[in-house]
């Protein structure tokens, strides 16, 4: 099964807080400047839909969900 990793590019973030509102289990904001941060970069599968929603909703397009194959994919 593929493992999904959440990546947040802090250099793009415009501190909107959208990700925290969408998936508070996965995202938070730095206290000192409101920049988004990832609390757990391999969230539970049931949270992935909301992580995708957060990625799509990020006004700075700073969030990506990367799929990393955990094992060799059958058939290459």
């Amino acid at each position: 099964m593929a493992i999904a990793r959440v990546h947040l590019d802090a250099s793009k973030c415009v501190t909107s807080g959208q990700c925290v509102l969408t998936a508070p289990e996965v995202f938070d904001q730095r206290e000192e400047d409101g920049v988004g941060m990832v609390l757990t970069d391999t969230p539970a599968p049931e949270l992935l839909d909301r992580v995708r929603e957060a990625a799509a909703g990020c006004p700075a397009a700073a969030i990506r969900l990367l799929h990393q194959p955990s094992a060799r994919v059958a058939g290459g």
């Binding site: 415009v14 501190t15 400047d33 409101g34 920049v35």
Partner: protein, 403 residues
């Protein structure tokens, strides 16, 4: 397809008779035929009007698009706007491009932390309940612009900015800043008073910092990362961007609900609908029709047109919010629909910095008012209401209600 420059439509466009808050009917025609179209401004300059939802989103998120209003192609809607806005010479956050913009959003970010805004909710509820107590105890009719529209946003903004609670000067400056009655001279006078007032707050926070936006900005100034003049400009911008918009949205939303009593009844019956109703009202009654002006930094191909580097652009949020490709039956107000993808707070990196705060205020006001005064109704016929459209924000001047 190209438009002959002699036949370009004039912008702004006329509204239909009926509700002055509805977008001009021409927007729907443009959206269908030419979602990216040229028009002519008061000064003879050409401007691109963007009326399609997808096209607006694409402009809002395109890094080749700038918000720099010192570019010659930037679309001004009047000489007065150009004069007032360009006075001072320090860029407010809304007119910065990255990387300057990203850095500025960060300096402001601490004041708008989601947690912080959520923690203010109880205080906003107490504020709104107190104001409704006053309305119920006072004479009928009551004007909801003065009774709710002004005090709610200015008090809440005072909290995040760090205005001492007993200080009512901010509240008293708002009407003079934004109302047509004060004229250009009165507005400039109020503006000067506002600058002097914020200057005083900055001086106060230099020696007594708190956990508020002005104190945080002062901290960056003391570290040498921001000029004192920029602290002043950013604070004044927040006031200008927050108060008139939220005041108008509070009262336009109430008005829309009064005009659609079955929708107001749905909110009383099911308070869980309130957050969705806020999104739908932001979609349906756009207060910042002309807020989103841009200028192209490079040539851009969009919807079969070429926007040339240097061309001015206006993204018409009220047109995008009525795009039938995105919202079924877009001209119907329906508090039960999922309207969250509306453009009422813009989109992309310049998305409204105060939207969490504004949303919370709107939720508390709409959710409390109709529950506490279920018999609320307009005290004058709809066609006697007077509307204003100053500084790019449109709303009702007075909202007389009775119950």
């Amino acid at each position: 397809m190209s438009q002959l420059s002699s036949e370009l439509p004039a912008f702004p466009m006329a509204k239909a008779k009926g509700c002055p808050l509805d977008p001009p009917p021409e927007y729907a025609r443009l959206r269908a035929d030419r979602p990216v179209a040229k028009a002519r401004l008061w000064d003879g300059k050409e401007v691109w009007l963007i009326t399609g939802y997808d096209e607006i989103r694409s402009i809002f998120t395109d890094p080749r698009i700038s918000v720099d209003n010192t570019q010659p192609g930037y679309p001004w809607l009047s000489e007065q706007a150009r004069t007032v806005v360009l006075t001072g010479g320090v860029k407010p956050v809304g007119r910065m491009d990255p990387p300057e913009h990203t850095a500025m959003r960060r300096m402001l970010g601490q004041g708008f932390l989601v947690k912080k805004i959520q923690n203010m909710r109880g205080d906003v509820e107490a504020l709104v309940n107190g104001l409704i107590d006053d309305i119920l105890a006072g004479p009928r009719p009551a004007d909801l612009v003065t009774a709710l529209g002004m005090p709610v946003p200015s008090t809440a903004l005072g909290w995040v900015l760090g205005v001492p609670p007993a200080d009512k000067r901010l509240i008293s400056l708002v009407p003079r800043l934004f109302d047509e009655d004060s004229g250009l001279e009165g507005a400039m006078e109020a503006r000067a008073e506002l600058f002097a007032y914020i200057d005083e707050l900055i001086t106060h926070r230099e020696s007594e910092p708190g956990d508020d936006i002005i104190s945080h900005l002062v901290g960056y100034y003391q570290k040498g990362e921001l000029s004192r003049n920029s602290v002043l400009t950013q604070a004044v911008t927040l006031i200008a961007a927050a108060l008139d918009t939220t005041r108008s949205m509070i009262t336009n939303g109430i008005l829309a609900l009064l005009q659609h009593p079955e929708q107001a009844a749905a909110l009383i019956e099911d308070p869980d609908l309130v957050p969705a109703a806020v999104e739908e009202l932001l979609r349906y009654t756009v207060v910042t029709e002309f807020s989103s002006k841009r200028v192209a930094a490079e040539d851009i191909e969009i919807a079969g047109e070429t926007i040339k580097a240097g061309d001015g652009i206006i993204c018409l949020i009220s047109a995008g919010n009525r795009d039938e490709k995105v919202f079924t039956d877009p001209d119907t107000l329906d508090v039960r629909r999922d309207a969250r993808q509306h453009l009422g707070f813009g989109a992309g990196i310049h998305t409204c910095i105060g939207k969490q705060l504004a949303r919370m205020e709107l939720e508390v006001v709409y959710g409390t008012l109709f529950r506490r005064i279920p018999g609320l109704r307009l005290a004058v016929p709809f066609d006697q209401l007077v509307f204003r459209n100053t500084f790019d924000v449109q709303g009702v001047r007075e909202l007389p209600v009775t119950w």
